[in-house]
Structure formats: structure tokens, C-alpha cells
Symmetry: D2
Subunit: 242 residues, 4 copies
């Protein structure tokens, strides 16, 4: 069973009626519901939000988390650096991380990837098509080609990320732009999946194909090993023969 | 100086008046002219075509070729297997290869990549936008972002290739499809660049930005080393201390 | 359940008493036994050999094979090209392939990778250490670091392969050479794992850690999708809205 | 001409007579001299050290630096975070970075790569062999295969780094360990080369083949583009047609 913690910034949902109308239980609530709908007994889901103590991400929560999903946007700067360090350490030790949409600019993703993670954007509610470029990838299993999202914020290249270890999805937008919107990375023992659909102004996390992608990604990112961040051990000659 | 051999199938140009009107000197002629225009004294260019003996690719030609460009479409099957082997061996030994547009289905590219190289297509003359996803790559130097091609054949995902070593360009089309149209691979000592714009029905090789890409790619693919295909030498203990 | 077909050239075992002493049931027999020992009910294993009709690899066998393991050495040239094509097509459609030791020079691996697959070698029975460079990779699960193999043939760099999609193991030898001996590739929908330990002169396939690697690799290479080799469909405008 | 700034921690050289005997002009002095010896008029070299104001890396120095080499060990923690930010920004904008030996644990490399960069080590002065695994890579040009270093500190796997974009060298040690000691990464527009030989206790930077590698790497890492760290521009519909 994969233990997922769905982290939500939960600011737009509280402050903007239009967002609340789409996501009455918060975006984190919708994401959590989608995981339960698609993974059933194969998943246990909890949520955590910015306004909780330690943003709901105390060490014991991370220790019991196989995969952390992260949605943030307007309050990236309010995320405590100590929590970011803790999440980063958990990830290097094996915890999976799903960074969603505007989390491209989250502290944790920038720290893991080491680049600016900048991109072009335009929010006019245009059609996004999500194309699979690696149909044999576990995250693409059962996903329509393309996913049609009627209205979304545009995210376009250049997206300043390291060359992904695996590229799974590329989006196009009605305005003509393209975006590497489904990217896999490994950092330490942890698997990272960045997935771009999901602006707060549109009901993207209610879309069946998006739920499918997130469910697949949660399985994929579940740790194969889990441990502390490795340090640098002194290794006497022939230590491995002992 | 980079010595380029521009290989052209040269069938559409001879058989179809519309193509001849666009490319009176053949597509190979246009490609060669573009390289000379953009690289000047830094390049020497010759051309070779299917109808020549050994398709114009005798061993001494390959030995004097740093980079081979390949455009073929309707006559892939007429390319002699022995010539394909010879080109493949030259490439493993260090010769660069630029595979253009419908050369996705050429014998040489399929042999080098080991996949089917299949893709979706539609030829209705729609707009193609070529987006740079690695602006620091030498092949993207001085290339507009995006390149706007008013009319082109659509090539769309899924494109059945190995994960490229470097992805430089992604195209979108008016119909919404995307395509990994600028991909770098290394096989043996040889560098390969696949570049998708360039159907025979449109004047793509007269487009300044396309000429720029091909000129950049010729420089990039020029060999750093050149030799025979390596064999498997027996290596006595401590041979490297001799 | 993963359905594995273990293919063996089965020539050394029949012609050389020393090899037969190590592998009385053939190398394929030992590999098959190891898979059953480590995977139990999670695997079904059959074997096939060069001397059988169609080398034991008729289409219906491949259709019922999730993962094919391949060991060959002295008789690579006797493998029928039609069978190689059939295996290649199955692999592009999703079948996994484990290419073992001297299968670096098999027709199927060279066809899939597109390079010469040459390497250095020396057969003096020296110690090989197999080091894990990606401990979170599923193929490395439960594998000692390093694996100590008391006597093996040396395989050394340069190994002329494409840059692997994932590098899992690097070997060192008593003589000082190194070798990228555990490499993952994807071609089409098929996963390939090349694993270098396993010369016929040494009881490598009886080594517990080697059995563990092969069992892990069989699981890893099992297909996520399975189908024909994709062709190149014409795609009318807006086909995806139908 | 490539403008290189050679940064040295310069602590061991001042505090330890044995190191000073090997590197009377500091390790940075030896590295700078090697670059000048191998690149001649194609390079201009300056040095900078920890004890200088802003560690010798004021903004105007970075602005005039194409490639920064970094050697640090015992004083990583004394490097000011503001300087690390500045170097990181310059690198994302295109500046090359050569991280040498114990700089695996430097703030700048960890920030760029996002992992712990931990490794095994043993300092008993054993033989290191540096094997080329990508002979066509520009950094390997003219480099002996293997480089034989009579005495070095052992660095061994597991090395906790992201999968390199290109792997050029793998080392083996007399004790049997292996290490991915020559790794290429790109972050933003900047190229990074990590190269492991070079402990302060041994005259590694006086070794001709090591000088050759560093000279090659300086050329390779020189920027193709240079600019600010990209931000995230709003892009109105059809902006690219303007």
C-alpha cells in the first residue's frame, strides 16, 4: 500500500470564491479524493496544508509518507526553510515527490533540480492537449492520447529544468506553445515527477485522465528503498571481504 | 573546415513538377546552398544522389566526409544494404549524420537507433512552430524561438525512437499535435541529429532559420575522432603499463 | 506472473567437458533454475536453444513470453536472421530482453542498440567486483555491494554502446579494468537489461547474488504494454476529438 | 579565448608543509599553470581564493569569467552563501563550472545537483586508473586510456549524484573500488564537469594527462550563450508573430 501525503498551499481556495466553487474541499481535497478513487485499497491518503504547524509536515509524518504531492503557488515564500530541508532529506532517502503545476517554483523542486525552473505563462483559459511520448512508461498506463483539457493556464517553453531522466508527456496549447509537462527525475533514492496541468482557476483535478496520471505517478514514485541521506564513510582496504 | 556530403533521394524533384518548382536544383541542391550560405569558408559541400553508382557514397567519399546529411522518402527500399552498412560503419567511426524529415524511416536511421521510428502524419500544409527546449545547445545558437513555418506536413507523437541523448526542439502544429523534431543521439563515435522540418511539398529548406539549424548541426556533428569501427581486442594483464 | 523464456546457445555445454561439469543442465538450465528459486510462483520459465526448430523461438513462443533472456557466444552467426527480426519485433512491442555476458555480440543486441558493442577482454579467471551505482534501482534490490565473483573473464572499457538510459552496475577486475556491466535501455515498448557477468568457464550463474540480479531484472523487464510494432498512421485533423 | 577563473580554498597549502612542498604556488597555482601550458593563447587565467574579499568572486569577476574551476575541502562551510548564490546564478546564465575532487561536497555543486554528493573514501595513496568510457567526447581528446595515477585518495561508489547527462571517465583503485569520476551535467545554460582526481596529498595536478583533461574541460564548458537567470515571462497570445 502506498502512503500518500497530499500537501496543499490552500490559499486560493480560502481567499477566492471562484476557486472555492471548483474545489470546495480544497485542491488538496480533490487530489486526495482522486487518488482514493483510482487506487482504492492500494493507497492511504492524508492531507497537510501550509497553515498547520510545521505545515503539517513534521518528521513523523514524512517518516510515514511514501509519496508527497506538492501544490503551491502564491505562498512559496511562506514555506519554512527547515521544512524544505526535511522534505529534501526524506526525498534523498527514498520518498517520492509529485510536484504539481505551479510547484515548478516551489522551494523544494528548485532545491532538488538546481535550476531556476522558470517558464512562460498566460492565463486565458485555453485548450491544453497532453501528449504521451513514452507510451510504455508506467505513468502513461491507461492514459488517453492526448488528454484534452478544455481550459487551462498556458505553460510554455523554455522550461529551465535539467534534462529529465525520462520525459513522459508534452503539452501543446491553443496558442501554439509546447511544454514538457510530464518529467521524471531521480535525486538520491527518491523519484520525482513534475506534472504541469492543474491551475487553480480550472477544474483540472476533477478530470478523469488527470486523476489517472496522478494515481499512476503515486505508484511509480513509491520508494524501492528508504533510509537516511547517505554520508561519506571511510572505507578501509578490503572492507567488502569482511 | 567541415566536409559535408548532402545526400538526396532526388525522386520527387524529378517526377513532380510542383516539387521541381520549389527545388529546381533538387532538395539536396537547396540544402547544400544553405550550408554554404551560412558556413562560408568553414564548410566544403558536395552532393550525392540515389541514382549515382553506389548512390554516390563510395568508400572514398565517406572517408572524405565529416558529416553526411540524408533526405529520403519514397525510395527508402531502393537504398542498397551494402551502402547502408558502409554508412553505418563510417558513422560508428566518427562521421556525423543529419537525418532529415522523412529520413525517420531511412534504413540508416532505423539501423542506428534500433526502433521502428514510426510516427503520426498528416499532409494538409498546416503551420508548424519549432520551439527550442535547450537554448544553450550549439544547434540552437541564433535560432528564433519559435521558428514559424507557415506550411508543413504534420509529424506527431508518438515518435518511436530511443530517448534522445539531448532534445533540442519540439514542434507544435496548427492541428494541436506535438513532435520531438530536433533530437541528438550518439552511436559509436558518431553524432546523429534528426530534424523533422522539410517535406518536399513546401519550401522549408529555403527558410533562413532552417538553414541556420542545419549549419549549426553540421558544425556540431563534425567528428572529434575518426577511426574504424572498434573490434574486441584481447588485453593481456597490465597491458596499459607497457 | 512473469513468463520468462531462457534462451541458450547450448554449444559450449555440449562440446566442452569442463563447461558441462559446471553446468550439467546447460547454462540455460542453471539460469532457469535460479529464476525459479528466487521468484517462485511469480514466474513461469521455459527454455529454448539454438538447435531447436526456429531456435525454439516460434512466434507463438514469443507471444507467450514476457521476458526473453539471451546467452550466446560461439555461434552468434548461426542465429537465423528471421528469428532475430521476430525477436526484435516482439521487443519493440513490449517484450523484455535480458542480454547476458557474451550476448554483447549477439545479433539481437547489436540490432537493438545500433552500435558495434565491442569491448576489451581477457580470460584468465580473475576476480570481478560488481558495484551498484544506482542503489534505488529495482534491479539492485537486495544485491550486495559489491558482488564478489572470485573468477571471471575480464570485460573492459571501452564498451561501444549508446549511453544507457540507466546505469546500474559497474564492474572492476583484479587487473584494474572497469566495465559498465549492468545497463538499462528501452527500445520501442521493450526494456533491455545487459548484464556482463557469466562466462561459460566459471560457475557465475550459481552465485546467489547473480541469481538475485537476474530475478530482479526479469521483474523489471516485464512489459507494461504489449502490442505490435507501431506503424505510421495518417491522422486527420482533429482525429482526437472523435 | 576562454577566460578561466581558478578558485582555490588555499588552506591545506598554507597549513601543511607536505602540501606546500607539492604545490608551492598553491593548488590553484598549479591548475592555472596547467591550463596555460595546454591552452596557450586560447585561454586567459586568473586565480581567486577563499581568503580574499568576497572570496575573490565579486560580480564583475564572474561577469568576466567563462569557466570557473573550484577546489575546496576543509573549509566548505566558510564559503559565504551570498557568493554561492552569485556563482549559481552566473552558472545558470551560462558560465561553466569545473568541480574538482573534494569539491563534490562544495556548496555550489550540491546546490546545482540537488543531491547529497556523498561517496566512500580512503586515503592510503593507492593507484588510480582513469578509464575513458566515451572516447568521442571532447573532454577525452588526447587523453591516455587509462590515465595511470600512481598514488591518490580513493573515492568509491556509491556516489550520490543525479544520473550524469554524459559520463566520460570511470576510475578504478588498487583496492578494487570504482568511481564515476568524470561526469557532465547541464544546469540552466551552464555546463558542469565534475572530475575526481586531485587530492592535496599527491601531485595529481602536475600529471600531464590530468592537465589535458582540465584543458579540454575548460574548452568544453565555455558558454555558448550568456545571460541572466531566466525569469517567468507572461506571454500574450500570438506574441511570437509580433
Amino acid at each position: 500500500m502506498v502512503r500518500v501525503t497530499v500537501w496543499g498551499e490552500n490559499v486560493h481556495e480560502r481567499n477566492e470564491e471562484a476557486v472555492r466553487a471548483i474545489y470546495p474541499d480544497g485542491m488538496h481535497g480533490a487530489i486526495a479524493a482522486g487518488l482514493k478513487e483510482y487506487l482504492g485499497d492500494a493507497v492511504s491518503v492524508r492531507t497537510a496544508t501550509l497553515d498547520q504547524p510545521e505545515h503539517g509536515l513534521a518528521q513523523d509524518v514524512l517518516d510515514a509518507t511514501d509519496v508527497l504531492t506538492w501544490w503551491g503557488h502564491i505562498a512559496h515564500d511562506q514555506v519554512d526553510d527547515a521544512v524544505v530541508e526535511r522534505v529534501h532529506a526524506a526525498m534523498l532517502g527514498g520518498m517520492g515527490l509529485l510536484a504539481l503545476h505551479s510547484a515548478h517554483y516551489s522551494k523544494i523542486l528548485k532545491r532538488a533540480l538546481g535550476t531556476s525552473c522558470s517558464l512562460r505563462w498566460r492565463n486565458v483559459g485555453e485548450r491544453e492537449l497532453v501528449w504521451t511520448v513514452n507510451p510504455a512508461h508506467p505513468i502513461a498506463a491507461g492514459v488517453p492520447h492526448p488528454i484534452v483539457i478544455d481550459a487551462q493556464e498556458m505553460y510554455g517553453e523554455h522550461f529551465d529544468i535539467p534534462e529529465p531522466d525520462e520525459l513522459v508527456f508534452i503539452s501543446s496549447f491553443a496558442g501554439g506553445e509546447v511544454f514538457r509537462g510530464g518529467c521524471c527525475f531521480q535525486r538520491g533514492a527518491g523519484r520525482i515527477f513534475y506534472f504541469s496541468p492543474g491551475d487553480q482557476d480550472y477544474p483540472v483535478y476533477h478530470h478523469p485522465a488527470i486523476k489517472r496520471v496522478l494515481a499512476n505517478a503515486a505508484r511509480w514514485a513509491a520508494p524501492r528503498t528508504r533510509g537516511p541521506v547517505p554520508d561519506a564513510p571511510n572505507a578501509p582496504r578490503d572492507w567488502y571481504l569482511a
